[in-house]
């Protein structure tokens, strides 16, 4: 006889766990990076559009799918989507959709964690650097570059993080995750609110031309010109950020929701999860790294950073940016890197002056050069300004940031162990160690292969959107829209407005399909190197085999007869 599945002890525990899963480095690290790289206020407009038309609807779809799968004892995507597709298709056809969905979710979780755990490791490292005062008195941009080039150090903090994850996940769902999150989440929120308060009163700590308020102005002034000239690119970035930050398109939300009772609310819980995350992202995450990057701009930037951002190679020169910084046209047009570099070094004070009138270009330079390291170059300056107390505050902040990433990673780790436990009957304790080994193998190339992280991250954004599209095709269309709407309102503590129906049915799938079509060509024409492709294809194969086996094991008889037999 099958054992009954674990269920969430309290509703608020589930919401905190969901929020703990969603609130992470996406809010405090990835969001400010995306804002800086995509024109500040120009990014926020499509961001809010994507939140309303994609984030909220897909969140409901995933909650409904998760709870539905839980009724049949499934917490993984393959079998769940097989069951939902079965409502419109014959079992043998539904099998393939289940296999593809399961494959996408499995491979995505592994690929994303291959670099996400490194970001968590960076936070652990910066907590340590704060205590020891390692970055005090240094250019924080240069310090970050130096840290990344020390492979042993990067490996150490990443390795500690992965092992601690395995231990935490081994404790089980309600005991392990709820206990961790109930302590960490409120602490993180309180500390972040204190940080925002400090930033508001910080003013111009280094240069009167650069204040924290400039950062807020950058984020909240809609830059229509930039949006108009980079529309497609900014829309893609905003959509990707919404999925990343809400942990959508990964199978994680479905896994959490699978532990709900059949009459537990999903509609209001979905909104609560979104709003808790958006508070952490827009209100807190948006008010920390960027305002600090503007206030301490002159302590982060240097000529080599400008070169990396706007003139990395002769064929990739951003002429518009360089001309706006006052570099003579003949030098820019020559595309001679040595000449550009020499001009930057010899006219650095004038360049800084030009940056102060084009602050958006300055933030773009930091965002482009450091990528996800943006927050790690701006935040330390705030702690340096606090003197010795800053060592303690810095250590605490980065530790909380580490926790935030850690709880998100727990959710993903839990998905993989659930997959081994429920689909393949592998004991949880053994499953956690198997996942640990997979994480170590998949995470190594990030340290040793240059550019691997960015390429995998680009593919992950694509796959997140693809899986979200599968969410709607299977959990709404094939499951049948009326069934979906009824399931959404089963035990619901709120009535979802009727006008959200056409948004879910028509607008969301179109908004998902467009960027997929627009970017697919780039992926098959050399955007990704051989090593990431090997990782992606290997994970696809393992994911497909696993999903096929999982569905076949429980539904073998009905697949053989090609008729629905098991129904609850």
């Amino acid at each position: 006889m099958e054992q009954p599945r674990d269920q969430w002890a309290t509703k608020i525990g589930l919401i905190l766990a969901m929020a703990g899963n969603a609130v992470g480095l996406g809010n405090f690290v990835r969001f400010p990076t995306q804002v800086a790289q995509n024109g500040g206020g120009a990014f926020m407009v499509p961001y809010f559009i994507a939140l309303f038309f994609l984030g909220i609807p897909v969140m409901w779809v995933e909650w409904v799918a998760g709870r539905y799968g839980g009724k049949y004892g499934h917490g993984t995507l393959g079998p769940t989507y097989y069951l939902m597709a079965r409502e419109s298709l014959k079992p043998r056809s539904a099998l393939w959709l289940g296999v593809i969905s399961g494959m996408l979710a499995f491979s995505l979780t592994v690929l994303l964690n291959s670099y996400y755990l490194h970001l968590i490791g960076w936070s652990a490292a910066y907590s340590w650097f704060s205590i020891t005062g390692a970055y005090f008195g240094k250019n924080t941009g240069e310090f970050f570059v130096q840290y990344l080039s020390n492979h042993a150090e990067v490996f150490l903090f990443w390795g500690i993080t992965v092992v601690l994850l395995a231990i935490a996940v081994g404790q089980g769902v309600s005991k392990g995750i709820e206990r961790w999150v109930k302590v960490m989440m409120p602490l993180l929120y309180i500390f972040a609110i204190l940080m925002v308060g400090y930033i508001f009163v910080l003013g111009s700590p280094v240069d009167p031309n650069w204040s924290t308020i400039d950062g807020f102005r950058f984020i909240w002034t809609p830059n229509w010109d930039y949006l108009g000239s980079h529309l497609w690119e900014v829309m893609l970035a905003a959509t990707g950020q919404i999925f990343f930050t809400l942990s959508l398109g990964m199978g994680i939300i479905q896994n959490y929701a699978s532990y709900l009772g059949p009459k537990d609310d999903v509609a209001l819980s979905g909104i609560a999860t979104v709003s808790l995350n958006e508070f952490a992202e827009v209100v807190l995450g948006g008010s920390i790294a960027i305002p600090l990057a503007t206030a301490y701009f002159t302590k982060i930037i240097n000529p080599s950073i400008v070169m990396k951002a706007f003139a990395p190679s002769p064929d990739k020169i951003d002429k518009t940016a360089l001309l706006q910084l006052g570099i003579p046209k003949n030098i820019v047009e020559s595309a001679n890197l040595t000449m550009i570099s020499e001009y930057l070094n010899s006219h650095w004070n004038e360049i800084l002056q030009a940056f102060s009138t084009h602050k958006d270009i300055g933030l773009q330079a930091i965002g482009r050069t450091f990528g996800l390291g943006f927050a790690y170059t701006s935040l330390p300056n705030a702690f340096v300004s606090m003197g010795d107390a800053g060592r303690l505050f810095g250590a605490l902040w980065f530790l909380l940031l580490w926790f935030a990433g850690f709880t998100s990673a727990i959710a993903m780790y839990n998905y993989l162990t659930a997959l081994l436990e429920e689909d393949l009957n592998i004991k949880r304790s053994l499953g956690t160690w198997i996942v640990l080994i997979i994480y170590f193998i998949m995470g190594l190339p990030v340290i040793y292969i240059s550019g691997y992280m960015d390429q995998v991250d680009a593919w992950v954004s694509f796959q997140l959107t693809l899986l979200a599209l599968f969410d709607i095709i299977i959990a709404v269309y094939l499951f049948k829209p009326d069934n979906f709407w009824r399931e959404l309102h089963e035990g619901a503590l709120m009535k979802v407005p009727e006008w959200y129906k056409p948004i879910i049915l028509y607008i969301a799938p179109i908004l998902l399909a467009l960027p997929l079509v627009g970017t697919f060509k780039g992926f098959i024409s050399g955007k990704i190197g051989l090593a990431p492709w090997i990782a992606i294809i290997t994970m696809f194969i393992i994911g497909a085999i696993e999903s096929y086996y999982a569905i076949k094991k429980k539904y073998g008889e009905e697949l053989e007869k090609n008729e629905v037999i098991i129904k609850v």
Binding site: F48, S275, L276, F279
Partner: protein, 36 residues
């Protein structure tokens, strides 16, 4: 007040209201479920 400040405060307020409304309703429902 500059327009970007109004935009920022409006966005914050909407998010805050959504968070307060959803969490308080969930807590109320949980309280009712416990008492019944």
């Amino acid at each position: 007040m500059e327009s970007w400040v109004i935009y920022m405060l409006t966005a914050w307020l909407v998010i805050f209201a959504m968070m307060g409304w959803s969490i308080s309703r969930l807590l109320k429902a949980e309280k009712q479920a416990k008492s019944s």
